[in-house]
Amino acid sequence: MGLHLLTVCYLFGSVTFIVGLKMLASPASARKGNIIAAVGMAVAILATIFLYRNSETGLHLHNYAWIFGGLLIGGIVGTLSAKKVKMTSMPEMVSLFNGMGGACAALISLVEFNHLSKELKEGTLEISAVQPTVLIIVLGLIIGSISFAGSMVAWGKLNGRVKDFSFPGQNILNLAFLAIALGLGVYLIIDPAQTFILYGILALSLVYGVLFVMPIGGADMPVVISLLNSFTGVAAACGGFLYDNKVMLTGGILVGAAGTLLTVLMCKAMNRSLLNVLVGSFGGSNKTGAAGENTNQVAYKEISISDGAMVMNYATKVMIVPGYGLAVAQAQHICHELEKILEEKGVEVKYAIHPVAGRMPGHMNVLLAEADVSYDKLLEMETANDEFKTTDVVLILGANDVVNPAAKNDPASPIYGMPILEVEQAKTVIVNKRSMKPGYAGIENALFFQPKTAMLFGDAKKVLQQICAELKTI
C-alpha cells in the first residue's frame, strides 16, 4: 500500500514539474506554475520521508531526527536568504542556490560510494555487478562538483568579490583537468576497489569548475549560471538512476534539457554562440585595443544636472534606457519618481528594455516592476527602436554595451552583430554613467562621442535625485 502510494506521489510530483515549467514560460500563469511545482516538490519530499522503503531490506527510513533537522535548517536558511536578498542581487542568489544543489548531488555520490566500497570489501557484492552504479556515482560527482565550484565563482564574480582571471593556454589546461578527471573515473569503474581515486576525481572536478568560470566576463555570467543550472539538473538525474527514483530522474532531466535550451536562447539574445561565450573569454582586457583606439582622442561633452533637467522638462517624449548602473545604484524607485514628475508636466515617458540589459535577461523588468513602473511602459527592443525616431530625449542609466553602435557598424568589434537599442536616432541622448570606463564587453562606445550625446557622470541614484529636485523647481 505504502509503496504504491509513493509511486503515485512521485507521479504527481513529476507531472507538476512539467506543468509548472510550462506555466512559468508565459507571463500570465508564471506565478501559479511556480506554486504548482513547489506543491509537487513538497508532496514528493514528504512521501519519500514517510513511505520510502529500502529495496533490499524492505525497511523504512530511519534517522528522522537528522532528516528533519536538516530540512528545518535548510528551510529556514533558504527562506530567509530568499526573502532578504535585494532585487538587484537576484542573479547571485540563483547562482548560490544552484551551487547548493550541485554540492548536494556530489555529497550523495560520496556517501553512496563509501557505502558501496564497504560492501565490496566485505565481499557481499561482485565487482561486475556494481560497475554501472559506479559509473552513475562518478558522473554525479563530476557534474555536481563542477556545478558547485562554478556557481560559487559565478556568485563571487557577480557581487564583485572575484575578478576575471585568465592566463595563456588556460583552455587547454582546463580540458586537461577534465580529461584526467574523466580518465580517473573510467579507471575507478574498472577497479572500484581503489577508493582514494574518488577523492582525486572530486578535487579535479572542483578545480575544473573554478578554472572554467574564472576567465568568463561578468556580462556573460547569466549564460554560465543557466548552463550550470542544467548541469545540476543532470547531476540530480544521476541520483534518480542511482535509486531508480522516477521523480528525481524526470525533474533532473527536465531541468537539464530546459536549462540547456534556455542557455542557447540567452546566447541568441546576445547574438553569440555558446562556444564563443565559453571559450572566447569575452570581456578580457586583451580585446580592448582595436575597436577603442580610433575613438579615444575624440572629446565627449558633459552636461550639468540643471541643463539635463531643463532638456527633459521641455521634451515631449523621453525614453529611459536602464542598464546595470541602475541596478547597482538601486535607482529603480527614484527612476519611477522621475517618470511621475515628468508625466505631471505633460512629458510622455517610456522605458526601452534591451533583452540582456542588466545582469540577466529580464533583470530590468523585475527591477522596474519592483518600483511599480507600469507594465505597458516597458517597451521591448523592436518596439523601442521604432519609437526612438520620435523621441526627444533618451536618458541612458548605466547601460553601455546594449546601446553601442559598434554592434551594428564595426565588424571588428567583439559585440558585432548583437541587436542593440538604436538610441542615436533620437534627437538628444543623455548618458548617465559613473565614469568613462568601458562596460563589461571591455570596449569603447562611440555613442558617447557623438555630437548629440551628452554625458552626465555620477551614481544613477544621486543624479536622478538631483534631477528630480531640479525639475520640481522649474
Binding site: N34, T48, M90, Y243, A257, A258, P361
Partner: protein, 103 residues
C-alpha cells in the same frame, strides 16, 4: 556488445524516461519571452532541488553509527533544502512583481 544490449533492455524504462523528458523539457520552454528568462531559470533551479530526495534516502539508510555518512548526508539534506525552498521563494518574489502590474 551483448552486455551493452542487455544493459539497455534491463534499463529500458529509465532510458525511455530520459529521452521523452529531453523532448518535453525543450518543448515546454520553446517560446518563452525574454522577460521571463530570469524567473524561468530560477524556477528550473528550484526544480532540480529534487536532488534533496536522494539526500534524504542517503540519510535515512545510513547506519546510526556511520558518522561519515551521517555528517555528509546531513549537509546534503541542508544544502538540497536550501536549493528547493530558496529557489521557489525567490522565484515567487520575482513573479509577484510581474503579477501586481497586471491587476
Amino acid at each position: 556488445m551483448d552486455s551493452i544490449l542487455s544493459f539497455i533492455s534491463a534499463n529500458q524504462q529509465i532510458i525511455y524516461i530520459v529521452i521523452l523528458m529531453v523532448f518535453v523539457g525543450i518543448e515546454v520552454i520553446g517560446r518563452v519571452p525574454s522577460v521571463l528568462h530570469t524567473p524561468l531559470m530560477s524556477g528550473a533551479n528550484a526544480i532540480h532541488g529534487v536532488v534533496v530526495i536522494g539526500a534524504i534516502i542517503v540519510m535515512g539508510k545510513a547506519e546510526t553509527d556511520n558518522y561519515l555518512a551521517l555528517t555528509l548526508g546531513f549537509f546534503a539534506v541542508v544544502l538540497g533544502t536550501i536549493n528547493v525552498v530558496g529557489g521557489f521563494v525567490v522565484t515567487d518574489r520575482m513573479l509577484e512583481m510581474f503579477k501586481k502590474k497586471k491587476a
